[in-house]
């Protein structure tokens, strides 16, 4: 059993999921992801408890806790809050010290972050005003085509001729899907078109920051292999996806917590 005083936690409360990571020095000893649900406060307590339970720990064993994500201020047990932008930079920097760019696509927004040499934010850009370019956009499109959100990425890889999706507005794109289906387009080509259009949008946004090697893809949408493929094509370089891309924000928060003790 490691010294308890070295154990810290990062909690990332996103729009779609709540994540927690427990770190002992530089080692991740437990992590967990749950849906955020309607109560951000309850989600924070629940994800923390379930993560602690994995290692038989209690809250008293954690010497410092940092919350991040949209719901960060609702985490009553946190010692401090930090934005998820800093946390994703920190988390990626720990896993891949030579990485200079993070593409983070979550349920509610997307961000491109330049990592400075010391692992902090160099520069960043966020999507604005609408759901296009976020996980929510993909969820809506999957529902329209009666498909499982976890499968649409691999379906898109089989599209030989990606459809041209002209609307990046979620609502208009939804009606465009219906039209394409009515015209007999295959699901594969439609999903390929959707992923391609979304990747295009994220890359246009990210160009203001720039994509420098190595590029790491984080957030829940990074589990979508279709999105990774289309982003790579648009960026023109290999993109790395961590084993658990969803927990990178929480990991970053835990790293900051570790540095505080």
């Amino acid at each position: 059993m490691a010294l308890k005083s070295k154990i810290v936690a990062g909690i990332d409360i996103g729009a779609a999921t709540a994540k927690a990571v427990i770190l002992n020095e530089s080692k991740i000893i437990a992590s967990h992801v749950i849906p955020t649900g309607e109560s951000v406060k309850k989600a924070a307590e629940s994800v923390m408890k379930q993560t602690l339970d994995k290692e038989g720990l209690s809250m008293n064993d954690i010497s410092y806790k940092i919350a991040t994500g949209y719901g960060r201020r609702a985490v009553s047990f946190a010692d401090e809050v930090i934005t998820e932008i800093s946390c994703h930079a920190k988390g990626v920097n720990m896993l891949m010290p030579d990485a200079q760019t993070v593409i983070d696509i979550g349920g509610q927004d997307s961000k491109v972050i330049e990592i400075s040499k010391d692992g902090n934010i160099g520069n960043f850009v966020m999507n604005d005003k609408c759901a296009a370019g976020t996980g929510r956009f993909l969820e809506v499109m999957a529902r329209v085509l009666d498909s499982n959100i976890n499968e649409i990425g691999s379906i898109s890889l089989n599209g030989n001729e990606p459809c041209q999706i002209s609307n990046t507005c979620t609502v208009f794109a939804e009606s465009e899907m219906v039209t394409l289906r009515a015209e007999g387009e295959t699901r594969e080509n439609i999903f390929a078109g959707i992923h391609s259009a979304m990747a295009h949008r994220v890359v246009i946004m990210g160009n203001t920051v720039g994509f420098k090697k190595s590029v790491v893809f984080t957030g829940g949408v990074a589990r979508n292999i279709g999105m990774k493929k289309f982003l790579q094509e648009r960026v023109g370089m290999e993109i790395f996806v961590p084993e658990k891309p969803q927990i990178i924000g929480a990991l970053g928060a835990a790293i900051v917590a570790r540095n505080k003790i």
């Binding site: 930090i82 934005t83 932008i85 800093s86 902090n120 934010i121 960043f124 005003k129």
Partner: protein, 373 residues
């Protein structure tokens, strides 16, 4: 201490109504390039037109989307009767949209009298000569509207009142810069806004009062771990929200560069026997207004102010479709980077979404900290 200023601004219609009781006129103006001194010298109350975030209904049929919110909102106010207390308006040429907008404004606003003031983009001798001739036309417009002759003596007196206002505002900024200052960035915004709807001599009296009664608050230490921010903006209506967020996140607004903030009071108008010439020089040369040329001079001035105030970062708050600010941004960003000052741009339309605004501002401030984490 500062609530009086907020109250004045919120009741600005009453201020104008009070002024009109004595038979005097009220003139609405759009831009910081308007020489208010001339309006005041004519015995007319100059009132800045503010964005009020009205739902745009009437203007939808008159204006294309690519016009900034400020102009659209002002037209909406006029078309829905909210500016009926005005006796006229003046639109100074601050951007290309304003030139096209003027025709639409004249046709649809219902203003009894309107004037378009040509303001050259450069400060060369020929531009100054041209501007003086334009100021003479504006002078005639004001004289006709008020029935008062704008003599040199009246203009010189008006310039003195406005210079006093600039000096008092500068003094206030000085007090604000102290580490234990009890004046917040949001207080400054309230004070500026009140000054744009009140007769300037009245604003001066209020400023003298707060300056003489000012005392430090030893419980405040603005130097503790703060990130120093300079805010540049043409959207003073949204600036208070952004400043509140900056201050809540532990930032300290050490410099602002709003159309009517430090930029407005940085220099006084030269006093002398040729008041019209002094005004021309001031409005063409002394105000670092994005969109004017040479751009390098504007860029140096904007970044220089941030540098002098030891700002770690600059937040560029701009209205959507504001071409002078948007075209200036890349050049300012490059120069700021050379000086080691990071920049971030926020569109005024984003300000309504506070959680997103908080993330952007907080993340920007985290990126400025040496040892944040």
């Amino acid at each position: 201490m500062f609530s009086e200023f907020k109250k004045v601004f919120n009741n600005r219609d009453n201020v104008a109504a009070e002024w009109k009781k004595s038979g005097n006129k009220v003139l609405g103006y759009f831009s910081a390039l308007t020489p208010e001194e001339m309006i005041y010298a004519a015995g007319i109350l100059p009132v800045q037109l503010f964005t009020t975030n009205l739902p745009l209904t009437e203007t939808k049929t008159c204006l294309p989307d690519f016009i900034c919110t400020h102009l659209k909102d002002c037209l909406e106010q006029a078309m829905t009767g909210k500016l009926d207390y005005l006796d006229g308006s003046v639109l100074a040429h601050a951007c290309e949209a304003s030139r096209g907008f003027y025709g639409v404004w004249k046709l649809n606003s219902g203003m009894p009298q309107s004037h378009f003031l040509q303001v050259p983009a450069t400060s060369k001798k020929t531009s100054r000569d041209f501007f003086i001739s334009e100021l003479k036309i504006f002078k005639s417009f004001l004289e006709e509207m008020s029935g008062n002759e704008i003599t040199d003596d009246r203009l010189i007196h008006s310039i003195e009142v406005y210079n006093e206002n600039r000096n008092l505002m500068k003094k206030l900024y000085e007090l604000r810069s102290f580490s234990d200052s009890s004046i917040s960035g949001s207080d400054i915004i309230d004070i500026i806004k009140a000054g744009l709807v009140l007769p300037k001599d009245e604003h001066n009296r209020m400023l003298e009062n707060i300056i003489s009664n000012y005392h430090e608050n030893p419980d405040i230490d603005n130097d503790q771990g703060d990130v120093y921010i300079c805010v540049v903006s043409n959207a003073i209506e949204e600036a208070d929200t952004v400043i509140e967020v900056i201050e809540k996140c532990g930032g300290h607004v050490v410099m602002d560069n709003f159309s009517y903030g430090m930029r407005y009071c940085w220099d006084t108008v030269e006093s002398g026997p040729d008041p019209l010439g002094s005004l021309a020089t001031h409005y063409l040369e002394k105000i670092p207004f994005p969109g004017k040329f040479p751009m390098a001079k504007i860029v140096d001035s904007l970044t220089g102010m941030a540098e002098e105030s030891d700002a770690d970062g600059m937040i560029w708050l701009v209205e959507k479709y504001c071409d002078p600010y948007m075209f200036s941004y890349p050049a300012v960003e490059i120069k700021a980077k050379e000086k080691g000052i990071k920049m971030m741009s926020i569109e005024a339309e984003e300000v309504g979404n506070i959680p997103r605004l908080q993330i952007k501002v907080e993340a920007f401030m985290e990126s400025l900290m040496d040892e944040i984490i």
